[in-house]
């Protein structure tokens, strides 16, 4: 990334040269979802509803897994799960 | 520079006629500009079209108020519209009619040339009795009055710009050209 000092260092229009993958929004969390696989029926409703694409399903038939790098802790998955397999926990501070 | 004004009814082809005259003039090495009276139109409504022709480039972008020639495609219009308004004192008139100059009420003292464009058009199957397409015939007659445009250029332009029946339109123009005499 170039160091910006004056207008001459700018591209002609705002453009980003990196992907949002480098922006780990997991650090925004104050509560985190925990999945209890014993209760999970693999309906994948949590995967469908996650607004952040932070619930991964590697292949059909697998249990969903939460991607804690990006999960913002909004709680929609816990709210929507029909089997109450997800509950929200306070984020532990490191 | 000469200025021509054409009067017709919507659907008779007055605007296409002005375009054909411009094309013919350009073919003959002159400069021309043709345009309709910019307005909303419907079939049967009086339509006015204009054409300027000059040996030098035409730069005026405004209407024509004192034409050198007035061409009347539909004589019935003379009762509705003052088709001769602004006509220059030495200007000439061309009217599509079968009647003679004496029979017509023409509120102008200018030279009048008459051609039965309707008859010629119908003879070549252009339009119908109630709605004859007289434009190509009448400009064929006009070119007789204005020999700076050659009849050959006019016929080429007619073939180029006529949307349908190109040969019939060209024949109508040629017939009118041949038949017209300056009255």
């Amino acid at each position: 990334m170039p160091v910006l000092k004056t207008y001459k260092d700018l591209p002609s229009t705002p453009v980003t040269f990196y992907s949002t993958e480098s922006n780990k929004t997991g650090t925004w969390r104050t509560i985190r979802p925990i999945l209890d696989e014993s209760k999970c029926t693999r309906c994948y409703i949590c995967w469908k509803f996650c607004p952040d694409l932070s619930v991964d399903v590697a292949k059909e038939g697998d249990f969903p897994s939460i991607d804690y790098d990006y999960c913002k802790g909004c709680g929609v998955c816990a709210n929507e799960c029909p089997s109450d397999a997800i509950h929200m926990e306070k984020e532990a501070h490191k | 520079m000469i200025e021509i004004r054409l009067h017709g009814r919507g659907g008779q082809g007055a605007v296409v006629a002005s375009e054909m005259l411009a094309r013919a003039a350009v073919r003959d090495g002159m400069h021309a500009s043709a345009f309709p009276f910019f307005g909303v139109e419907r079939r049967g409504c009086p339509v006015t079209a204009f054409c300027r022709i000059d040996d030098k480039p035409i730069r005026i972008h405004a209407g024509i108020y004192e034409p050198d020639y007035v061409i009347v495609l539909d004589p019935g219009l003379m009762a509705l519209v003052d088709v001769f308004q602004g006509l220059k004192p030495e200007g000439k008139i061309l009217i599509n009619t079968t009647r003679s100059r004496e029979d017509l009420t023409i509120k102008a003292h200018n030279k009048v040339v008459i051609v039965d464009a309707t008859g010629i058009a119908l003879k070549h199957g252009l339009g119908s009795e109630t709605a004859p397409i007289v434009n190509t015939a009448i400009i064929g007659a006009f070119v007789k009055m204005f020999p700076k445009i050659s009849i050959d250029s006019l016929l080429e332009s007619v073939r180029e710009a006529a949307p349908v029946k190109k040969e019939e339109n060209a024949s109508a123009a040629r017939d009118a050209y041949e038949i017209t005499k300056e009255v």
Binding site: S12, T13, S19 | H31, F38, H61
Partner: protein
């Protein structure tokens, strides 16, 4: 090849010859025959690019910005309320640095509803950052369209351009136009090759948020590039003349100005009428000159300041009125002319709006008025609407 056609068809041919790749246009009088002609060309296979139907002018501009981001040469045309509907996207096209070329067939804004020629629609878009080029005749419309791509797509410019023709007065008038050969245009116009564009193999994001700490610098770059465009415009005009034999002066054209007593500045189709009248008056010993404003944006201030040394009186004709201290073009020209201490007298003539005819007689009246001002050494009133109904109901 010489063909007799309207300015609208000339614009359509200009787009075709420029090998535009994406066209999205919504019809509006008096632009409709451009869309129709392009659609006809598309169906006949004469058009290199794709013609896409959209549901509004706003959508048309949005679509073109997207297409331009991918590296396509784009084109559209509109008038009046269509242009106004695109207004927010015009700012976007500028900020996104997309060299879209758009024909504006200028028409009055409503109400009162009016379909005829007037320049208020384009005067209202001066602030968007689009370049604005005015055309005097049909040939110029075609030539300017081709030149605009060359100017706009240059990496030192990368700004969109409006090519403006007066509604009906040019758009529906048949004039002889010399259609250049496709090969010659291909030589003159290289393929569009933007520095920044969407590439799926190299994904990036465009048009994102910029905080106050850097926003002004982006804006400054656009201002700089708009200023630099002046040089490019003159350069492209000279190259066009070398290739096709026709020149329009680039920014302005001085006509009959060399030893003029007074000068009238104006833009659009009325320039032709002004030149015609200027020649006729010169034959009678009246030394009147004409400045043709071909480019309004970027404003050719350097050329306009020359007027201070040429004449004591400059009139400006506006084919619109935007309720300022004088009309739009008048304000721009006064600003361009301005030198501290300069004593140049200026007067604004407003007319020909909503399709009202501005005839050689009116033009002559304006020149005579300017000569009178020169003689008396003062301006009677800053703005004169001519013609205007005088109470007897007659106006010409």
């Amino acid at each position: 090849m010489i063909e007799v056609m309207t300015s609208n068809y000339a614009a359509a041919h200009g787009a075709r010859l420029s090998k535009v790749e994406v066209i999205a246009a919504y019809p509006i009088t008096p632009q409709s025959s451009i869309s129709e002609k392009l659609a006809e060309m598309s169906v006949k296979g004469e058009l290199h690019g794709q013609y896409i139907l959209v549901e509004s002018e706003h959508s048309a501009m949005s679509l073109l910005i997207g297409a331009s981001y991918v590296g396509a040469r784009t084109y559209t045309a509109t008038s009046s309320h269509g242009l106004a509907l695109m207004h927010e996207m015009l700012y976007w096209a500028t900020g996104a640095r997309r060299p879209i070329v758009m024909t504006i067939v200028s028409r009055a804004m409503a109400p009162p509803w009016n379909i005829w020629g007037d320049q208020m629609d384009v005067i209202g878009e001066r602030d968007t950052g689009w370049m604005q080029f005015f055309c005097e005749n049909n040939q110029e419309t075609l030539d300017t369209t081709i030149m605009s791509y060359r100017i706009a797509e240059d990496r030192s410019v990368m700004l969109p351009a409006m090519v403006i023709e007066d509604g009906f007065i040019l758009s529906h008038t048949f004039e002889a136009v010399d259609l250049p050969d496709q090969d010659d245009v291909d030589d003159f116009l290289p393929k569009f090759n933007p520095e920044l564009k969407i590439d799926f193999n190299d994904p990036r994001r465009f048009g994102g948020l910029v905080m106050p700490d850097w926003w002004s610098e982006f804006r400054f770059r656009i201002a700089q590039d708009m200023e630099d465009a002046k040089k490019k415009i003159i350069e492209v005009d000279k190259e066009f003349e070398k290739k096709f034999g026709r020149s329009y002066g680039g920014l302005v054209e001085f006509y009959n100005c060399d030893d003029a007593d007074v000068i009238l500045a104006l833009a659009g189709s009325a320039v032709g009428t002004a030149k015609h009248v200027s020649d006729k008056m010169r034959e009678r010993g009246k030394k009147v000159g004409v400045v043709k404003i071909k480019t309004l944006r970027p404003l050719p201030a350097e050329e306009l300041t020359k007027l201070n040394d040429m004449v004591p009186v400059v009139g400006v004709f506006d084919r619109s009125f935007n309720f300022g201290h004088g009309g739009g073009i008048f304000s721009e020209i006064r600003n361009g002319i301005y030198t501290p201490g300069g004593g140049l007298l200026t007067k604004n003539y407003v007319g020909g709006m909503g399709g009202r005819d501005f005839t050689p007689k009116h033009m002559e009246w304006v020149f005579e008025d300017l000569l009178r001002i020169k003689k008396e050494g003062k301006v009677d009133r800053m703005i004169e609407w001519i013609p205007l109904r005088d109470g007897t109901g007659r106006w010409y």
